[in-house]
């Protein structure tokens, strides 16, 4: 991202040196971050989305404590016996709207009568852990390889770019399905299932960020401050880390906030297709998939997980858009 000179400074070491010598007394140059933060604060939609995201993270972290406060356990069944909340023949929740009551705010699931709200809280944890770690994996691979490709150009760039092209043209979903199926045969441990989902989502996501970073680096490496750093004797590694990298923070942040919801949907999709996290760990996609079997007779069971996924993904996307606007007001959507 090339930044307009007049408004904000480009954070490079050599420029900082230059700035120190010219800093006046009355006019204090604002940093990129304080300017962006001011813009972001004015964007009400993005702020609201940010609040939702923080709430979601808090719910995920304190899922167990919140469940205890609310008085339900996501593993508890209310299917038979005295405390049954289901009709024994139809297998569906008794009462209105999927068994919504004072003790079960979102009702209970058909068949086993599990509390939906606590399941969704646990699901938030799964969703955020997987999408967060998968995004981190994409970023680590994508940023390093994008940086290398853009900086060194030539045959290095050719190889990395072709690899990205190949990965982008892969039928990722089909490959993920078969990969997970094969790994599941080898091991069914919960840890392995989480790891493989994170790997699949993260590994096939890196070329997207890789391409963006490469493009940025191609233009950044021609900038004067890079030339200056080089003429002062800076090595390639130093230039990449200290001169170019700081200028990539903006696009990386924006990209991160847009990749997390993509990976949330990816996780939900894989769980929906039955290759997600193993039961009894609740997952939004798995709940949605299960609810699909009862949508005509118990629509509330479909609506709650659907709403939660919708709200979370929307919040991340709106926040990402706001962040992009704040960091780069010239960009068009």
């Amino acid at each position: 991202m090339s930044l307009p000179r007049g408004e904000l400074e480009v954070v490079g070491e050599s420029e900082k040196l230059a700035k120190k010598t010219t800093t006046g007394t009355s006019i204090v140059g604002r940093s990129l971050w304080s300017i962006a933060w001011r813009r972001l604060r004015k964007d009400r939609v993005a702020m609201a989305a940010g609040v939702v995201i923080i709430l979601l993270v808090l719910i995920a972290i304190f899922a167990d404590q919140l469940s205890a406060l609310y008085g339900q356990n996501y593993l508890e069944h209310h299917a038979v016996g005295a405390g049954s909340l289901l009709d024994p023949a139809t297998n569906l929740p008794t009462g209105t709207l999927g068994g919504i009551s004072a003790s079960h705010w979102f009702g209970v699931s058909p068949v086993l009568g599990q509390d939906i709200m606590t399941q969704l809280m646990q699901g938030a944890r799964v969703s955020l852990v997987i999408s967060g770690l998968a995004t981190a994996l994409s970023l680590i691979i994508g940023v390093s390889l994008g940086l290398i490709a853009g900086f060194y150009r030539g045959w290095v760039d050719t190889i990395i770019s072709r690899v990205m092209d190949v990965l982008l043209s892969f039928p990722t979903l089909l490959l993920s399905l078969s990969l997970i199926a094969v790994v599941s045969i080898l091991s069914n441990a919960v840890f392995v299932r989480f790891a493989i989902i994170i790997f699949v989502l993260g590994f096939f996501g890196w070329p997207y960020i890789g391409r963006i970073v490469r493009g940025q680096v191609l233009s950044l490496r021609e900038k004067e401050f890079v030339d200056a750093a080089r003429s002062l004797g800076g090595g390639s590694g130093w230039i990449m880390a200290r001169e170019i990298m700081p200028n990539l923070i903006g696009p990386i942040l924006v990209y991160t906030s847009l990749t997390i919801p993509t990976n949330m949907l990816g996780e939900a999709g894989l769980s929906y297709l039955g290759v997600g996290v193993p039961p009894p760990i609740p997952s939004w996609g798995q709940m949605l998939s299960d609810a699909g079997n009862y949508f005509q007779v118990d629509p509330m069971y479909l609506i709650f997980p659907g709403l939660v996924i919708f709200i979370s993904v929307l919040a991340f996307n709106l926040f990402g858009d706001g962040l992009r606007d704040a960091l780069d007001p010239k960009s068009t959507r």
């Binding site: 016996g81 009709d87 024994p88 023949a89 297998n91 068949v111 086993l112 009894p280 079997n293 005509q296």
Partner: protein
């Protein structure tokens, strides 16, 4: 018999002889009560009896048959459809109620056999014709049975029963490669089967579609390879398959060469039967409710229609919820959980009532106290060696006591196996996990694709030990309703094989083996099978969960509707169904 159900495919292979000669000895009993439509009226009776001819019956199914070749199909509902267009020497005269009755079909009587049940002879009726006008001869019956030996081509049907009973050279590979089989002797009107073993249940094999006649060496056209016969099978029954578009539709019209005078079992009235394949369960449900389709041919109704049936008494009168001849159970592996008291702890702790819920609710099954399902000899409604408490939710005190006896008072850890993909199994697992956790038994899941689950996953005793599978989900229905047919493959110690084993716990108990070994000579009584069931429960390797039930819906306009409990888990017997001429 394979049944297609959301979740579990039941496979039973290789049964042999049985106890009572129901088919040979019992006089033909007339169909029971019949009359107007009410809930469960078609289970043992005939709903809307009528002789009005004509009309088109419209059936729906979610999947195509595994094959329309009579020798190559193994799904219960496909065997039910075979009744439309194939006949065999013996058939089921009474398919509804709890006691199916065999009767001669192509044969003039129930056949004769020698004293040790190793030679069976049948005489064909006169005037039998195929849908192409050709005569049905004993050679054709022989040819049909010979096809079962061509296991390179005909590999989807119940061949194993025939391979295990009919004498044949070890290298016999069916009529395409090895020519005629000398152990089946035919004359102009008779056919004689020479068996390699005593088999008092042979008439049950002769009542399978697999022993239907196939025109001698003209089937399939070029080269007689046999593989394509299922696309255009020649009909020996009252209907003929005229148009078959795989995965879309099948049309049956009346076979003009079939004569009522030669058929004592079927009384068809409809002119045409259309089967449409519709993979959308909800669409099937809405067509059934709207009356634009008459019945579902393959499975229970979906969740939507089920809910309507159970909540609306006006719709409920057009539905049936028969108990059918299969048991869902869990195998508790003695090779992994070696102490019988530890196994008993699982038996006591399981929450059977909730497991029934997980399998679909009270319309999908009733809690089972022992393994033998209704309709099979040795069934007892009161047998319940491991009482799971007042509401069948488990007896925690007894489970804990068993754990103490086992020397593991704080419980233990093991793995539960089930096949994927499955809508039900994860819920069943969740239920079991929660129930066993109450006494400290911790279980984790281990899954396998349905294609390999029964063959190499729990069908391999070595794999069970290697993977440490302590508990495995399974279901079992006999291919024919006798005690031997039900038990031999899952309990006879002589039948344990390295892969494709159906005796998952490798049960090898002399008391059980003795009863099963005496059965092919007709020497095991109903009381023996009751004793067998008790002995199996004592060994604590099979934890019975439920006796299966199914929920079916019939269009009110259908006439002559009754359940087929003999072949198809209570699906309607479509061969006699009519529409009142419309």
């Amino acid at each position: 018999m394979k049944i297609k159900r959301k979740g579990v495919v039941l496979v039973s292979l290789l049964a042999a002889t049985a106890m009572a000669l129901v088919g040979c000895s019992s006089p033909t009993t007339p169909a029971t009560t019949s009359g107007a439509s009410s809930f469960n009226a078609a289970i043992a009776g005939i709903v809307n009896p009528s002789t009005v001819q004509g009309g088109t019956v419209k059936l729906l199914t979610s999947t195509d048959c595994d094959s329309w070749d009579p020798q190559n199909t193994y799904y219960g509902w496909c065997w039910n459809m075979q009744r439309l267009f194939t006949r065999s020497l013996i058939g089921y005269e009474k398919v509804n109620g709890s006691k199916p009755v065999l009767a001669p079909d192509l044969a003039t009587d129930m056949g004769t056999h020698n004293a040790d049940f190793t030679k069976w002879t049948y005489t064909l009726r006169k005037g039998l014709k195929y849908s192409n006008g050709a005569d049905i001869t004993p050679m054709d019956v022989k040819y049909g049975v010979e096809r079962l030996f061509a296991t390179d081509i005909i590999n989807g049907g119940p061949s194993s029963y025939f391979l295990a009973t009919i004498s044949h050279p070890a290298d016999y590979l069916g009529p395409y490669k090895s020519g005629d089989l000398t152990s089946i002797v035919t004359t102009a009107s008779t056919i004689e089967f020479n068996l390699s073993t005593s088999y008092s249940d042979f008439n049950y094999l002769m009542a399978m579609a697999a022993s239907a006649p196939v025109p001698y060496k003209v089937e399939g056209g070029t080269g007689f390879v046999g593989a394509d016969y299922g696309k255009q099978p020649v009909s020996s029954g009252p209907f003929v398959l005229t148009k078959y578009v795989p995965t879309q539709s099948v049309t049956f019209v009346r076979n003009k060469f079939w004569k009522q005078s030669t058929d004592k079992i079927r009384k068809p009235v409809a002119n045409e039967i259309d089967l449409t394949i519709d993979s959308d369960e909800n669409d099937i449900d809405s067509k059934l409710s709207a009356g634009t389709a008459d019945a579902r041919a393959d499975l229970d109704v979906g969740t939507t229609l089920k809910s309507k049936i159970l909540t609306n008494p006006k719709i409920k009168v057009n539905a049936d919820n028969p108990t059918t001849a299969f048991t869902r159970y869990m195998t508790v592996m003695p090779s992994v959980i070696t102490n019988v008291y530890c196994r008993q702890a699982i038996f006591y702790a399981a929450n059977k009532a909730e497991l029934v819920q997980a399998f679909g609710g009270t319309t999908s099954g009733v809690v089972a106290g022992s393994m033998t399902p209704p309709t099979i000899a040795g069934h007892s409604a009161s047998a319940n060696m491991y009482d799971s408490g007042k509401d069948n939710t488990g007896d925690i005190a007894k489970a804990k006591a068993a754990l103490v006896k086992c020397g593991q008072p704080n419980g233990f850890t093991t793995k539960v196996a089930y096949s994927t993909p499955s809508q039900l199994a994860p819920k069943v697992f969740a239920s079991l996990q929660t129930a066993l956790a109450r006494v400290g038994i911790k279980v984790t899941e281990t899954t396998s694709a349905a294609s390999s689950y029964y063959s190499t996953f729990i069908g391999s005793p070595t794999n069970i030990v290697n993977q440490g599978i302590g508990i495995a989900l399974a279901a079992w229905g006999a291919d024919f309703p006798t005690g031997y047919g039900f038990w031999n493959s899952i309990a006879n110690g002589a039948d344990i094989v390295p892969t494709g084993n159906t005796n998952y716990p490798s049960l090898n108990d002399p008391v059980i083996n003795k009863i099963l070994d005496a059965a092919p000579n007709g020497k095991s009584t109903d009381a023996d099978f009751r004793k067998l069931d008790d002995q199996v429960m004592k060994d604590a390797v099979y934890l019975p969960i439920l006796f299966g039930k199914s929920l079916y819906y019939r269009n009110p306009r259908l006439t002559n509707v009754t359940s087929d409990n003999a072949l198809a888990f209570g699906l309607y017997d479509f061969v006699n169904v009519g529409t009142g001429g419309k």
